[in-house]
C-alpha cells in the first residue's frame, strides 16, 4: 500500500496534499534534517539568504544554536521582506498595470508608481509581522505604510521631504481597518456597477478567511436574464442557489462603498475615501453592512468582526503553513494546523510565533530520505526556491541585483522575467511554480551568469580580505601555479553557496577543478574561469532546491 502511495506521489504533476497517513505512523517519526540542514532552510525562508559559514559552524558545534539563530533570523530586517514575498501570493496585489497611469496622478517616476501601489498592503503585513504585532492588526490598524510615491498620490500624513517606506495615516477620515483601508488593496480589486463590491468582498473572504466563494461549485440559472436588473436582484435574494453565497457575501460588500469610484480612471475618484458614499449599498445591493448576520456600521466594524472570527487565525495558519511547506494544504493536515493554531494563539497571534511553530514541525524540517512517514504526511523533503528567493539568495552571495531601467527584472512582466521565472503576476498567474520548467532554468541561468560576472569583476578590484566570495585565491592563479589555493577556494564556495562541507580532495572539488580547467583552457583567462565556475554553482540543482 505504501509503495502505491509513493508511486502516486511520484507521478503527480504538481505537489499534492498528503495522502492519508497509515494509522501506525506519526508525524513525529518523520526523519528530520541535521541542524545545518535545518539552518539552511530556515535562513532562506526567514531572511532570504544562505547562512554564513560561521552560523553553520555554530549549529554544527551545538545544534541548540539553531533556536538562537532562528530568533536572530526573525529579528533580521530581511524577515519583513520574506513575509511580503510570502503574502504576495495571497494578496495578489503586485500587478504591473493599474487603471491610472503615473502621469495621471502626477508621479514622475513610473517605476516607483507601478511597484508602490501593490506594495502598500504587503508593507502593512510585513510591518505587522516584523514588529511582532498581533495578526489582528492587519484588519484593525489605524495606520498604513507609505513611501514618497504613494504620499504624492494619496491623502497621507507622510512627512514632507522624507523617503522610503514608513508608517503613515490617511487624512481623509477613512475608518481605521488596516489593509481594509488601504488604497493599494482596492486599486487592485476594483468593482463594476453590476458587481457592486462583491468581488472586493470575496477578496476579503479569500485573503482573511480562506473562503473563496468563486471556487465553490455553483449551479447557475442560465435562463436568468442578466440584462434585467430586477430579475438579477430577485435571484440574488430569492433563488436558493444564488442566496447560498450572496446572503453572506453581499453584506460584506455593503461595507465597502466608501471606496466606490464612479470612474476608476479618475485620480480624484480613486485617491480618496468617500464617506458620503457609504450608504450606496442601499441602491446597489439592497442590503446593509453585516458580517455573517452581525450588523455593523463602518469599515472599522468589519475589521473588528474579522479579527474576532475564529476562521481568521485559522486562515493565517493555513496560509503560512502551506507557504513554508510549498504545497497545498489538505484535510490530512488538520492535526498539524490545529497544533500550529494553538501555538499562534499562545504566542499572542503574532506571525513570528506561528512561524516558530511551523519551522519546528517535522514536516517542514524533513530530511531528504526515502521514508514512508515523511511521504505520507506530506513532508517537504525538498523544495524549489521561488523567483524571489532565488533572487535574494543570489544577491546575498554576490551582491548582484538585476535591474533594467531601474525596474527589478525579476519583479515584473512588462520588461522582466517574473512569470517566466515561475513567479506570480498578481492578476492571472496566481501560484508560484513548485517545480522546474525550461524557462525557469533559463531565468536561473541568465541570473547566475550576470551575478557571477558581477561578483568576479567586483572581487577582482578588491584586496583578497575585502572580497565577497573569492577571498582565498589570487585571481591570477592557475591550476599550474597554485591548484591548492583554487581547491581551497572551491571548498569555501561550496560552504557559502550550498552550506556543504566538502574536502579539497573530494569528488565535488575534483569535478569543479576539472570544470575550472576546461573553462580556463577555452577562455585563457582566470577571471572567466571563475565566472563560469560560479555561474555553474549558482545554476546547480542543489542551489535551486533546498
Amino acid at each position: 500500500m505504501v509503495n502505491l502511495l509513493l508511486l502516486l506521489l511520484a507521478c503527480a504533476d504538481e505537489p499534492a496534499a498528503p495522502v492519508e497517513a497509515p494509522a501506525a505512523l506519526s508525524a513525529s517519526a518523520i526523519p528530520t534534517r541535521d541542524a545545518a540542514g535545518q539552518l539552511i532552510r530556515r535562513s532562506l525562508d526567514l531572511r532570504g539568504v544562505m547562512p554564513t559559514p560561521d552560523e553553520l559552524a555554530a549549529v554544527e558545534a551545538d545544534p541548540a544554536a539553531l533556536d538562537t539563530l532562528t530568533e536572530q533570523f526573525l529579528a533580521d530586517p530581511r524577515f519583513e521582506g520574506r513575509v511580503r514575498a510570502l503574502y504576495s501570493e495571497i494578496l495578489l496585489t503586485q500587478a504591473d498595470s493599474w487603471s491610472l497611469s503615473a502621469q495621471a496622478v502626477g508621479v514622475d517616476d513610473a517605476v516607483a508608481f507601478a511597484t508602490s501601489i501593490g506594495e502598500e498592503p504587503l508593507r502593512i503585513v510585513g510591518a505587522v509581522a516584523a514588529q511582532d504585532l498581533p495578526w489582528t492588526t492587519v484588519v484593525t490598524a489605524d495606520w498604513t505604510m507609505a513611501n514618497e510615491t504613494t504620499a504624492a498620490m494619496w491623502p497621507l500624513d507622510y512627512p514632507a521631504g522624507a523617503t522610503g517606506w514608513q508608517q503613515a495615516r490617511y487624512t481623509d477620515g477613512r475608518p481605521p481597518a488596516g489593509l481594509l483601508s488601504a488604497n493599494g488593496l482596492w486599486w487592485r480589486y476594483r468593482s463594476t456597477d453590476s458587481n457592486a463590491n462583491r468581488k472586493r468582498a470575496n477578496a476579503i473572504s479569500r485573503i482573511f478567511l480562506c473562503n473563496d466563494y468563486l471556487v465553490r461549485p455553483i449551479t447557475f440559472d442560465r435562463n436568468l436574464d442578466l440584462m434585467d436588473e430586477a430579475a438579477v436582484a430577485d435571484a440574488v435574494h430569492n433563488n436558493p442557489d444564488c442566496v447560498s453565497c450572496h446572503v453572506s457575501l453581499d453584506p460584506v460588500a455593503a461595507y465597502l462603498f466608501g471606496f466606490w469610484a464612479f470612474d476608476d480612471t479618475s485620480p480624484i475618484e480613486m485617491r480618496a475615501y468617500h464617506p458620503e458614499r457609504e450608504h450606496l449599498y442601499d441602491s446597489f445591493l439592497g442590503v446593509g453592512p453585516a458580517y455573517y448576520g452581525q450588523p455593523g456600521q463602518s469599515l472599522a466594524d468589519l475589521g473588528q468582526q474579522i479579527a474576532g472570527d475564529n476562521r481568521f487565525p485559522e486562515c493565517a495558519v493555513q496560509q503560512v503553513y502551506g507557504a513554508l511547506l510549498r504545497r497545498k494544504v489538505g484535510l490530512d493536515d488538520a492535526d498539524a494546523l490545529s497544533s500550529h493554531r494553538e501555538a499562534f494563539l499562545a504566542g499572542g497571534l503574532t506571525l513570528k510565533s506561528l512561524i516558530r511553530s511551523v519551522v519546528d514541525d517535522p514536516r517542514y524540517a524533513a530530511a531528504e530520505v526515502d521514508d514512508p512517514s515523511a511521504e505520507a504526511f506530506g513532508a517537504a523533503t525538498l523544495k524549489m526556491k521561488t523567483i524571489d528567493l532565488l533572487e535574494s539568495s543570489v544577491a546575498g552571495l554576490t551582491g548582484f541585483t538585476w535591474t533594467t531601467g531601474g525596474l527589478p527584472l525579476l519583479h515584473n512582466d512588462t520588461v522582466g522575467l517574473r512569470t517566466l521565472g515561475g513567479g506570480v503576476d498578481g492578476l492571472t498567474v496566481t501560484e508560484s511554480a513548485t517545480s522546474p520548467s525550461a524557462t525557469i532554468l533559463l531565468v536561473q541561468e541568465r541570473l547566475a551568469q550576470a551575478a557571477a560576472d558581477f561578483v568576479v569583476r567586483s572581487d577582482a578590484a578588491l584586496p583578497a580580505g575585502e572580497r565577497r566570495l573569492l577571498r582565498r585565491v589570487e585571481l591570477s592563479a592557475t591550476l599550474e601555479s597554485d591548484s591548492a589555493a583554487i581547491a581551497a577556494q572551491i571548498v569555501d564556495l561550496h560552504r557559502e553557496i550550498f552550506g556543504a562541507t566538502v574536502q579539497a580532495d573530494g569528488p565535488e572539488v575534483t569535478a569543479n577543478l576539472e570544470l575550472w580547467g576546461a573553462l580556463y583552457a577555452a577562455e585563457g583567462d582566470t577571471a572567466e574561469a571563475w565566472t563560469g565556475l560560479l555561474a555553474a554553482l549558482l545554476r546547480d540543482p542543489d542551489f535551486l532546491f533546498y
Binding site: L226, D413, S435, A438
Partner: protein
Amino acid sequence: MHRRHFLSASVTALCAAGIRPAFAAGPAAADLKFIFLFNNGGWDPTRVFADQLDSNNVDMEPDAERASAGGIGYIDHPSRPSVRAFFEGYADRALVINGMQVRSIAHEICTMIALTGSTSGTLPDWATLIAAAAGDRYTLPHLVLGGPSFPGSYGTAVARTGAAGQLEGLLSGRILDQSDLAIDAPSRAAQGIVDAYLARRGGARVLGAQSSQAQRLTGAYADALGKAAGLKDYRYVMDFTGGAGLEAQAAVAVDALGWGLSRCVTLGFPGAGGGLGWDTHANNDEDQSTLWEGLFAGINQLMGLLESTAAPSGAPLSEETVVVVLSELGRTPLLNATLGKDHWPYTSMMLVGPGLTTDRVVGAYDEGHTGLGVDMGSAEVADDGPVLAVEAVGAALLQLAGLDPAEHIADADPLSGILA
C-alpha cells in the same frame, strides 16, 4: 529551401527521433494541437457570425448582406473581404457557435469564464489544461504570445514570450545586455562547457535523490535543463519575439507547433498595446468592421501557414490543429447614443480544424439577440434545451483533446454535438 532545412544538427536529431507517419484517419486526440485566438474587449458577433438581418431589435450594419459558403451562413460586407475569403476558403473546416452565454458583462469576469469556466481566476484555462496533460512531451507546452492566460496550478506548463521579447532575450542572452549594470555574457564555448557539466550534475542529482519528492524535482530539473538547452538551438530556426501583430504571432505559433515545442498556443488580437481593442462603446460599426477585417486577414494567414507547415508527424499542421477564435463577451443588440454598443452576456465562437462537425453553424440568437437553448448531443437549437454555456464548449474542447472534462469542470456537460 524550406526554412526548416536550416535546422541545426541538434534540433535535427531531436526531430528525427520524433518522426512518425502521417495520420490516415485523422489524428488521435493526444496528437491534436490547439491555437486559441483571443479577441480582447468583446466583439460584436452581428458583424460576421450572427445573422440578425430580419430582426427589428438588432442594429445591423448598413450594407451588410447575408452570405453563405458551404453550410455556413455569415454576414458579408464590402469592407471586409478577408471575412469572405476565409469562409470561401475554409468553411468546410469551420464551425460557428452562436448564442453562447458568458454569465456576466464585466470584461475581467467574462474573460475568466470564457477561458476557464470559472470566475475565480485561480483555475487553469482550457489551453493550459490541454497542454499540461501532455506537458512532458513539450518544451513550452502552452506558449502565450498574446491575450490572457490563467495557468492555475500548472505554471510550469505555461510560457509567455513577453511583450518586450523577454523569452527571445533569455534564449539569445541579450537579456544580459539590458541590465543596468554592464554584464559580459559568457562565450558560446564557456556556455557549452558549463551546460555539459550541469547536465552531468543534473543526472547525478536524480540518481542521488532520496525521496520521491526529490526524485520528482530533480527529475524535472534534468528534463527542463535538456529542454532549455534544446530551446536555445531553436532560436536559430524560429523567432520567439512574437510581436503585437496577429501575423507575427501566427508565424511564431505555427513554428512552435511545427517543431513540436508546444501543444497549445494562445494569441491575442489586437496584440500588445491593443488593450480592450474590441470594446466599442462608441463608433461600433466602423471600429468593429476594421477589427473583423484585421482579424480574418490574420486568420487567413494563419490557415495558410498551418497548411504549408509540417507537424512533427509529417502531416500538415492544419490536419492536427484546432483553431479556437473567441472573445470574452458580445455587444448589445442596439446602438447607444454614441453609436457604440455596450457589453452583452451572449457571444459567438469559431472553431476551425479536425475532430469537429464542421461546415455548419450551431446555436442561435433570438430576436432580441439572446442565446437560444440547444440540444447538447446535436448542438442544434432545441426549445427545451439549456442555454449554451461557454463551459460546455470548453468541456467539449477538453474531450476533443482526450481529457475527461468531469475532472476539470464542475457539472461538465460537453457540447458533444460539435465533436465528429
